[in-house]
Amino acid sequence: MFKRVLIANRGLIQANCVRAVKELGATAIAVFEEQDRETAGVRNADEAYELQTRDASLRPYLDLEQIVGLAEKLEVDAVHPGYGFLAQNARFARELESRGIRLIAPRVDGRFNLSNKYMVKEAAQRAGLPVVRGTELFSDREALDAAVKAVGLPLVMKATHGYGGIGMRVLKDKAKVERAFDHIQSTSHKFLMNSPEVFLEEYLQGARHVEFPVLRDERGRTLVFPELECPVQRRFQKLLIETPAPHLEAHMRTRLQSEVRVLCERIGVFGLASVEFLIHEGKPYFLEINGYIQPSHTATTLLTGVDLLKEQIRLLSGESLDIGELQIRGDRHVIGTYIFAEDPLDNFAPSPGVVDRLYLPFGEEVFMQTSIFSGANISPFYDPMVAKLLVRGRTRNEAMLKMGITLDEFFVEGVKTNIPLMRGVLQSEAFREGSLTAEFIAEADNRRQLVDSLKSGKDSEIAALVAALALHRDGETLKRMDALVAEQGSSSVLGAATRWLKPRKNRPRL
C-alpha cells in the first residue's frame, strides 16, 4: 500500500478520499483553498495544506504546478485526483509520474488513452460493441458545416477530453452550432486544459443511461458490478441514480456485462472504471469509459458491500483483487439523489450563500454524505453539489417510498436546492414506470410541474397564513403601513394592531 496519499480535490469526494486512505492505513493529505478551510475533508485529514491563489483566472485546485510541487515537497507516493479538476488532465499524470508519484487513475495498455473519448469509442467498435453513429475528430471551424450535415440534427457535440458534462452540448438548432463549437473549444482549454478537437454524434432522443462499474487488477482479474441507471440529469450531470436499473431485462444485463469484460480486456484497463451505455428503443450503444471515481459509486457500495473507492486506491498501489464472485442479492434496491445548491425553477442557476438552517433526514437504511452544516458558506466558484442522499430498500417500491419521505424531511434554508424537484420526481408516475428521461427534466415547464405536483389545496392556505402572520408580527412594516393609511386619511384599524405589536418589556423569549 501507499504510505502518503495527497488528495487533489475538494468537497464530498475529498472527504470520502480522506476516509478511504485512512482506512487503508496510509496518511491522508488534503489541500484546500482558503474558503474551504472548514470543510469535512480538511477537518478529517491527517495533514492539510492551504493552496495559494496565484492567478485570479486559475482556481487553486486547477493549479497543476502548485499541486505537483506540493506533492513532491511532501514526499507523497500517490495522488488521488477525485473527479473533475485535474482528474482527466494528461499533463498532471505525466508530471507526477516523472517524479515517481502515482496518480490514482486507471491505467490502460500503452496504445490507448482512456480520457480520449473518440479513441475509446473506436476501440469499442473494433471489439464488436455497438456504438452511436457519428463523425471523426476535427478542430477546424471549416469542417463544422459538413460534419453537421453528415450527422443531422439533433446532435451531440463532444470535446475529445470531456467529463461530467463539461465539453459536451446537445444541439437541436443549427443557429447554435457555431457558438457551441467556440464554447466547447474555450472550455476545453480552460477546465480540461486539453486539446480542442471535437466530434459529433447522433442524439438518441429518450435514451436511458446505464453504466457498469468495473474493478480490474494488474493480473487481469475482473469484477463487473451490476449497472447503475441515471434517469434524471441536468446538463449531463446526474441528479438521481438507482441500482440495479429498473426494467433492465436479465439477458441484457448479462450481455452487457460480458461486453464490458471484453472491452476492458481489449484495452487493458487496470484499476476502477465505469463503462457507460445508452439504451435506445431496446438497443444498447456503448457510450464511454469513465476512468474516475464517481459520486454514484456509493450506490454500488450500498448494493454490493464493496467499497469501490478503497478498492480503487488499493488496486492502483499494485495489490490484487481479493474479492471472489460478487454475491448479488436480489432483494436490494438502492436509490441515490444528489443535492445541489441551485434553483431548478430558475434554470438550475447556482445559489451560493450561507446555509442558515440544516435539518438532516434520519432512519434505517438512510445514508447521507454531506459537506454542509448550519453556517456553511457555499462557494460560487465550484460545482455546487452539497449532499448525496442514498436509501436502500428490499424492493424498488420500498426504496422509492423511503427516498420520498427522506427528501421531505431534508430541510436546507439559506440557499435554494433541488430537493423539491427530486421530491416531485420521486412521486411522478413517469419515474415509477421507469420512463422518465433526461430530456424531460431539461424542460423548465416539466420541472415546474413536478414541483407544483407537491402542492395540495391546504398548502396555499398555509402559505397565506404564514404570509399574514409574518406581516402581523412585523411591527415596523405595519407602522409604515399605518403612516400611509394616516396620509390617505382613512380610519386606521391598523393602528390597534401596530400598538399591540410593539415589543412588550419582559416578554419571555420564544
Partner: protein
C-alpha cells in the same frame, strides 16, 4: 385582524387580535381553523418555525423593499403571495416600483470572463453585456433595458461579490 392574501387564489386570513403569541392561538383561513404556535424566531423577531395543527413547519418568507411578504417557502417549495388588503380599511398596499433600473449588478458572486460591450455603445434590451463565470457555469448578463452603456466598472478576470456594480445602462 383580517388579511386578504392572494396565494394561488384569494384567501381570507383572520388572526385574533387578542391572541397571546407565547401560546398556541387560532388562525382562520377561509373556512378552515388552524391552531398555530410560534416555535422559533430569529433575533429580529422574524418567525422561523411554526407549529400548525401539531405539525412542525419551518418557514422562510421573502419580503419586498417595503417589508410586505411576497413569497413563502414551505419545505423549499415557493408560493407567491400578495397581501391584497388588511382589516377593513380601504388601504391597499402600494405596488412595487415599476421603473427598470439601468444598473447592472452581479446577480451572483463570480468572475468576469468576457466583456462584450464598449462604453458608449447603444444596446437593445436583452443584449448580452458580460459573461460571469460562477460555479462552473458561464452566465450571460443581459441588458435590463435598451440604452447607452455608461462607465464599465469591471475588468476581465475580476472577481465580483453578489451585488457588485458591473456597468450602467443610461
Amino acid at each position: 385582524m383580517n388579511y386578504s392574501v392572494h396565494c394561488e387564489k384569494k384567501h381570507s386570513v383572520s388572526i385574533d387580535r387578542k391572541a397571546d403569541l407565547n401560546k398556541a392561538f387560532g388562525i382562520a383561513v377561509d373556512k378552515s381553523q388552524y391552531t398555530v404556535a410560534i416555535r422559533k424566531v430569529q433575533e429580529d423577531g422574524k418567525i422561523k418555525t411554526l407549529m400548525i395543527d401539531h405539525r412542525v413547519v419551518p418557514i422562510e418568507v421573502e419580503r419586498r423593499g417595503d417589508g410586505l411578504p411576497v413569497r413563502v417557502f414551505l419545505k423549499g417549495i415557493p408560493f407567491d403571495v400578495e397581501i391584497a388588503k388588511m382589516a377593513s380599511t380601504r388601504f391597499r398596499p402600494p405596488l412595487p416600483e415599476r421603473e427598470i433600473s439601468g444598473e447592472v449588478r452581479a446577480n451572483l458572486p463570480g468572475q468576469i470572463v468576457a466583456i462584450m460591450v464598449r462604453e458608449g455603445e447603444s444596446v437593445p434590451a436583452g443584449a448580452p453585456l458580460v459573461i460571469l463565470d460562477a460555479m462552473k457555469m458561464e452566465n450571460e448578463i443581459m441588458a435590463p433595458k435598451a440604452g447607452r452603456v455608461g462607465k464599465i466598472a469591471v475588468s476581465r478576470n475580476e472577481v465580483l461579490a453578489k451585488g457588485d456594480l458591473i456597468l450602467e445602462i443610461e
